[in-house]
Subunit: 314 residues, 4 copies
């Protein structure tokens, strides 16, 4: 349940207020040069631009490498938490629209002290996994790039904002994905909805497609099999068609507002809660490399599954 | 790849123009009374209201039952195709925004003659699996209900329309779903995007959440742990919180328009294609029981996985 | 749980005294010519030589084929049971060393009337899946062949006998299997122990290896990388080394003896039970094509997983 | 591929001559008190009795715990390698009956310098996972105990010996395991064959069953449903019957003999190789806690999968 992927698989661990985060990347082919500058760069993109806590994440790899290249063995890594001490303040409070209540129901505790696994901190592991995936995609000339389309407008001091992000995967071969349950875009949707605060996924025209007619929508093909339009966003019947895969992801506002809100504690007693910690006001732009990471891992997993090569030539 | 689910699993088969559709439901607990009237009713909901082909689907169960109850063995079923002869007309044409081109790239053929696995016909198997899932949910007082919010307005004779569908799961316990990769809503998104013509999924406020601020959005709790609002759509941090799970699904217009469109054939030669077959003009309303079926199977699978019971009481 | 394999997957269904057996083969590459004579021949090997019931199994394929070749869609098949009426005789008796008691504990019934899923009848589905796997292996010049090494000597009229079977997979490339948990021989062992009445698996020297010293045992290599001996049975550190994979499988005597034995019924009342049905006295030789089928499906699954190609050439 | 289990899952990493070994235990229920003395004791059993290298393994847990109890989050642990420097001696040699050749074929290198993942060192991670599994089993009064039945007799100085090990799981409920492919003993066989140097698995009478007749073999039941004999070793039709699960595992001699043997190098040139490192002469007795660990993880996984509770009471 803390594993993502089928062939290229990231299993990760760690709590925000524990000693470290980390993960194990399994299924990475042998012989890949791990470009540490690139991995560092990806981590910086996630750490840098926020108005909240600056995380100078240093990643340390402890297995699966020999002379800088992957060996085929699992690649394990760690990132120390700079602020690893338990979070005393919030003890017992069910923080609004946060994981506290559902953790209590599921596990018998709120995880407030440790920060649990549902915080944005966990995404640092996804970025490392995604960076390795991107290096594998780079060898195939496939790129993944996300940008922020807009963020909500904040009127109150201490409030937080939702955000809309778009991501494009370019250079994909046709034939990735399965026609029924393991559609390329079904896996992609699951990858995005697995992100903290994500509330929606759409591909190509997405929700706008619901308002369109077939004569407007259909993507017609040229004699070289290229498409004149890309309303489908690069995926038809769950299978990539060689066009850009273009999708959008909606993020709700970060629930930790520095404004007093009424909630209850573990026993149902009313309490007033004001978030005091140094969270970002918005998932974007720090979430961009995380969105790309999930897209990259989803893509390389389909490539390594290799089911688009299951053809017998007669 | 033609299997859906982890514990409660549907594996299905069959092509639109083959002799039959069918499936195997594995992981269904023993002792469930299979209410055939209910299954018949669900199939009728899918078959009836379309303006296209009327499918009088008779389902036949051939294993996993004894005296009307499930035995714990796999439950296999078949539904004959009334129109099982190969589809001669469309041979070699890459039908616009259809599976023809991606099948050609992936499998080396277009599947036009058989209708392949990407047509709406395949969803009949999902409805049977979903009906069994609903019977298991009924014992737990959990219901699933979808409705059409709108369909696109058609101006041209022979054109087709997109549709927006909303679905609500009621009566869910808190604690279903995993906090990181196997979030309840991540699995739900994958289930919906696995549907033919689906281009988007959103839960709770969904894409609207991107425009909201935290002070408006946060769902505050009462002393009995109920929620005053449900912007999150019943899922927080990937785990159900006991409120209604409410989500929306966008469907693009059916690609088979009865209007001439320019496309190419298998060899890249330009051809004009006009769909002549009796397809529906819109996924809705026939897709409603299919949306519910996927939601029901996703839900019972999480319940049977039982990971919300992995608590040691001290 | 009624599915075998990861990429090449057989999901099967049916009870001995139900209307039919059948299965769905998923993950078979498109373009394979299904040689029906060969499949017929494999089924005959399983049906023919027993002294028990002669099963003239006619297999019918209903999906996944076009003009005799696989399309990439799931291949579903059925085999009618000639003797599909419920087995009235054994009602309520916990048959000795049979599945009755464990079914009662697990499912709440004994399955006696239907014959359940644990009888040898279920293996007919494995043979069909294995035959398709062998056709895929044949294209790669890989063969699988099992033989009976011995059967126990029966002294009593109506008694049954255990058997030892050896199987050889020839023509395998080096590099199949994973070094830790997904060892080639670990998957092979699971495949064999999944057979009814199987009580042991050994590869290469097997249990004899426990009595050997390293200087005798080690397989030394020549300059062309061939091996002078094959004590390891073609698998080292879980990975095929290009030599023949040679393993043995032990089967206990069929529990249905036509000799009176003391047992109890569903309520614990003592009863005397004598099997009256027309079972074989020994798993061998009918089990030979079944052993081969499981070995073939295990092998093609590793090949299609393709993890021995996850090497980046620098 | 470096993950074991379905619900209770161990994913591990690390090479013998790397900085550390470690793993992530996912799916462990929340609230379990991690008895560190017990884990220490299990590691000592693995480290102590060999005549080879003494490994004073100190395990450090870095996530998934709060005040000594599991939280439901993944439990990650590390064990430093005391001798973490690369193994210079064996460079380029294909060590006899070792992983060198198959690694070269699979990954493009021999892994000699790092020691790879196929050495006995990796089993330290299994022992940690197994210790946690045993703590979960202890709450259910289930115990797992292995012993050495014999080891081969060594005549030559520097030679190594095979070994036969027996293991008993006591206190199991009836109903664990699935009747067809996921038999309890099939999973157990795969778990054992995944151990380094394992060449055989048998349960109950095992290979001896091949020489027996049904009248001798059948386990008859008393009125209290207990069994008079246990030839089946506690598993019938793949499902536990409430009796002791008793199985045996065969280990080949450790391939690293301190006696000169002829082999070849990476390029096929003949070389004489004598192992110089401080390996044990025999897998036993250090393998005993490892066998128990795999049995314990297999058992708790079946219990948490909970499929023996999928019964609807009418």
């Amino acid at each position: 349940m803390n594993t993502f992927g089928r062939i290229f698989r990231l299993t990760d661990f760690g709590e925000t207020h524990g000693p470290c985060m980390g993960g194990v990347i399994d299924g990475c082919p042998s012989g890949l040069l791990l470009d540490m500058d690139f991995i560092r760069h990806e981590l910086d993109r996630r750490a840098l631009p926020g108005d909240g806590r600056r995380e100078s994440d240093k990643v340390r790899f402890v297995s699966g490498l020999y002379e800088g290249r992957t060996t085929g063995a699992p690649v394990a890594f760690f990132i120390d938490n700079e602020d690893g001490k338990p979070n005393a303040a919030a003890d017992g409070v069910l923080k609004p629209s946060h994981s506290s209540f559902v953790y209590k129901e599921k596990y018998g505790h709120t995880c407030n002290e440790q920060g649990g696994r549902s915080s944005a901190r966990q995404t640092v592991c996804r970025v490392v996994g995604g960076a390795v995936a991107k290096l594998l995609l780079r060898e195939r000339n496939i790129t993944v790039a996300a940008e922020t389309l807009f963020t909500a407008r904040i009127e109150t001091e201490g409030d937080t904002a939702g955000a809309l992000v778009e991501c494009v995967i370019s250079g994909l071969p046709a034939g990735l994905g399965e026609p029924v349950y393991d559609k390329f875009d079904a896996r992609l949707a699951a990858a995005m909805l697995s992100l903290p605060a994500c509330k929606g996924f759409e591909i190509g025209e997405g929700f706008h497609a619901a308002e369109m007619c077939g004569t407007q929508y259909n993507d017609l093909q040229n004699s070289d099999f290229s498409f004149r339009t890309n309303h489908d966003g690069g995926v038809q019947a769950g299978i990539t068609n060689g066009e850009e895969v273009r999708f959008r992801v909606a993020f709700k506002p970060i629930p930790s507002v520095r404004v007093a809100q009424q909630t209850v504690d573990y026993f149902g007693n009313p309490v007033t809660y004001t978030a005091s910690n140094r969270n970002d006001a918005c998932a974007a732009p720090r979430v961009l490399p995380v969105v790309e990471a999930m897209a990259a891992m989803t893509t390389i997993d389909f490539i390594l599954l290799n089911t688009n090569k299951l053809k017998i030539e007669n």
